[in-house]
Amino acid sequence: MSPRRKSRVVWSLAAIAIGLIFAGAGLWLIDRPDLWLWLITGTVFVLTGAVGLAIGDNAPQISWASIVGAELIVLYTLTPVVYLVSLSLKGGNADVNQGGFLPHDPGFTNYETVFEFSLFQHALFNSFGISIISTSISVVLATFAAYAVARLRFRGKKLVLSVALAIAMFPVVALVGPLFDMWRAIGIYDTWIGLIIPYLSFTLPMSIWVLSAFFREIPWEMEQAAEVDGATAWQAFRKVIVPLAAPGVFTAAIITFFFAWNDFVFGISLSSTERSIPVPASLAFFTGASQFDQPIAAIAAASVVVTIPIFVIVLLFQRKIVSGLTSGAVKG
């Protein structure tokens, strides 16, 4: 048996084994209705293995190890998300209290609740507004700075990079106290601008890195070439450089948006009413419809709602995000 063939057989069998373990564990341990999850997972793995064995050597370029691995990755990344969706569909306190993964009495009441709740609507509006504004400003400032860093020689360039690096490592919580004190003194506590300013500071380092990495890859000779060909400097910049730089700017914008959308610390410390409260902070302070209600399912529904934009962005722009993340080696 060739090593390639041997590895294919081994991994096909491994997939079948994983599948059987899932199905078996499900039958052995898990009550209805959650049992279905385990059976379906098991079936997917068994089928993978069966296809792997049946397909023979006809598709040698497909590594079965990686397919089983990919299935495990998807299982890993999506389980908690699917659980949130499932929790959000649970039909009432009784259903929630029953526990388990899948709802017994599915329905959309929690979504109705969440959307009837005006603080949450305000929070969505605030979060979109604040995130988009700070992303735009941050990307513009970062583009200038990154251009300087990537293309110019000037004294203090190292300083710019060091400041960016230091800010990226800065413990955000250490700032909220003094910022709260200052913001209340100058009267921008609980306002959009009060959140936009700190978001700017903390997204700039990432944007600068992502962008300067992109700018270094741009073949700037083309600009000169265009100028030689008679284009003005502005035309050369607009026609040649902008299209090349745009993907980088876009990537930086996405990663910046993620940061602003995700922020919690500034949100809970520097805002408090529907005037400026962002989504993550509003989630943390949900209460039930009355003092007797546990808001678990409603929080889950709200969580699903605020994850949808992330999902869409990730599906549409995954390639850009990955290249941005690894080029700048930053994190949002």
């Binding site: 109705e112 949450f120 609980d190 408090s272 529907e274 209460t287 039930g288």
Partner: protein
């Protein structure tokens, strides 16, 4: 259960409060009518003025209803909008402190836990009340309620309702355990009874204010107190390392390490304890009086019993916790005169009666207790009043939030409490925290 079904759709709300609620009913302030923002703690209906049952019948709700009613009665003098604070008392305080420290003009009235009233008054967050108005506002109020709203010999807030905890139990469980509930019971007895019947004793023992409420009641029940000379602020004398403190620790430790402890004991707040009490293996619960109005206990209301708060020791009478809500008027609001007028209306005898009937929260005015309708709606109202008279409030010190946090931190989780060491350690810790020598 009908009420509940409607409520779920009603409104979920959060800390900072939604602009929802009364805007629709009260009508946006037209012309000169000042809008007063009232920050309320969650109660029976949160932002909804009415609760609606399955058949579509409407009944008055909680504070939101009072706001609506008083706005109407004011004939345009003011228009109250309710905004909601978080569920637990510590977070309510945290929210208000932050906003008041920022001198936020959008707070006019606030529902304040008595435990934090002293701190707010000391910080200058509350608008001082003229002396004559103080007498007027406090007339007919229970002494305990007035005391809990007084700081530095001034009435600084107006009691809306007073509250106390009683022992709720399932009659079937007590019967099975052979426990005579007509006589005062001790913590030992109910824990033993629960162990014996394989049921649980639910107490608020999450790492939050409610846990300090329990500890304070236990220490007071043994005849002690958490501190002496509350007016000394950070130099008050802490008295937890005492035989009374030890007696309290014994109860906490016993329940914490008992099979009678519900699974989520160390994470249980008021709502969580009602949930574990309502579960099949629920046996006993100490909780505020509003439990009677909680839809979770409706299914077994026939089996629901209530007696006075359990005793810490065999000999001393119990000292139930004192709670409730005072209405404070912010120093930074724009309409303080209207706000005091509104506070007077919200806390009138009539308001308190309506509020008690809808929310199950006890009135702060003694006259309301004698009302026949009240007696009929709440068969245990005599016990309520007796409990309030016997209640031990938490110390009225501006530093209560620090003391409380240090206290519940060092006693948490209940299973880790050691009667021989915990009281001493927590006393030392509280003293250090007050003196700025230890972190929280």
């Amino acid at each position: 259960m009908g009420i509940r079904a409607r409520r779920r759709v009603a409104a979920i709300a959060a800390v900072a409060g939604a602009a929802a609620g009364l805007a629709a009913c009260g009508g946006e302030s037209s012309g000169d009518t000042p809008t007063l923002n009232w920050y309320i703690n969650p109660d029976v209906s949160n932002l909804e003025a009415y609760v609606t049952d399955e058949d579509g019948n409407q009944a008055p709700g909680g504070q939101a209803y009072l706001a609506l009613k008083c706005s109407e009665e004011s004939n345009g003098a003011y228009d109250i909008t309710v905004r909601l604070l978080p569920n637990d008392a510590s977070q309510q305080r945290e929210q208000l402190v932050r906003r008041l420290a920022a001198e936020d003009e959008s707070i006019d009235l606030m529902s304040l836990d008595p435990a934090f009233t002293a701190e707010f008054a000391n910080a200058g967050f509350l608008q001082p009340i003229p002396k004559e108005q103080q007498t007027q506002l406090s007339e007919g109020m229970l002494d305990g309620a007035v005391e809990a709203a007084t700081y530095d010999d001034n009435l600084v807030a107006v009691p809306l309702w007073s509250n106390t905890q009683i022992l709720w139990f399932k009659k079937s469980v007590a019967e099975k355990a052979g426990l005579d509930m007509t006589k005062p019971v001790t913590w030992d007895q109910i824990i033993d009874a629960a162990e014996q019947t394989q049921t649980t004793v639910s107490v608020q023992a999450k790492r939050y204010e409610g846990y300090s409420v329990w500890i304070n009641a236990l220490i007071s029940g043994a005849g002690g107190q958490i501190l002496e000379d509350p007016q000394d602020g950070k130099d008050a004398k802490i008295t937890i390392d005492t035989p009374e403190g030890k007696a309290a620790a014994e109860v906490v430790s016993k329940l914490g390490n008992s099979s009678a402890a519900p699974p989520a004991l160390s994470n249980a707040d008021e709502g969580g304890t009602v949930a574990s009490f309502s579960a099949a293996d629920g046996g006993f619960l100490v909780n505020w009086t509003y439990v009677y109005s909680d839809p979770n206990v409706a299914p077994f209301k026939d089996d629901l019993g209530w007696v006075r708060y359990p005793q810490t020791t065999d000999d001393d009478e119990s000292r139930p916790p004192y709670g409730g809500i005072n209405i404070g008027v912010s120093n930074y609001g724009k309409h303080t005169d209207a706000a005091y007028e509104a506070a007077a209306c919200l806390t009138s005898a009539e308001s308190q009666k309506t509020y008690a009937q809808s929310s199950g929260n006890q009135p702060a005015r003694s006259a309301v207790y004698d009302d026949p309708e009240m007696k009929e709606a709440f068969p245990m109202s005599a016990l309520w009043r007796e409990s309030i008279d016997a209640a031990a409030p938490r110390p009225l010190t501006p530093y209560w939030s620090d003391i409380s946090t240090a206290l519940y931190s060092s006693w948490h989780p209940p299973s880790s409490v050691d009667p021989d060491t915990t009281p001493e350690e927590s006393q030392q810790y509280i003293e250090d925290v007050l003196q700025g020598k230890a972190l929280l």
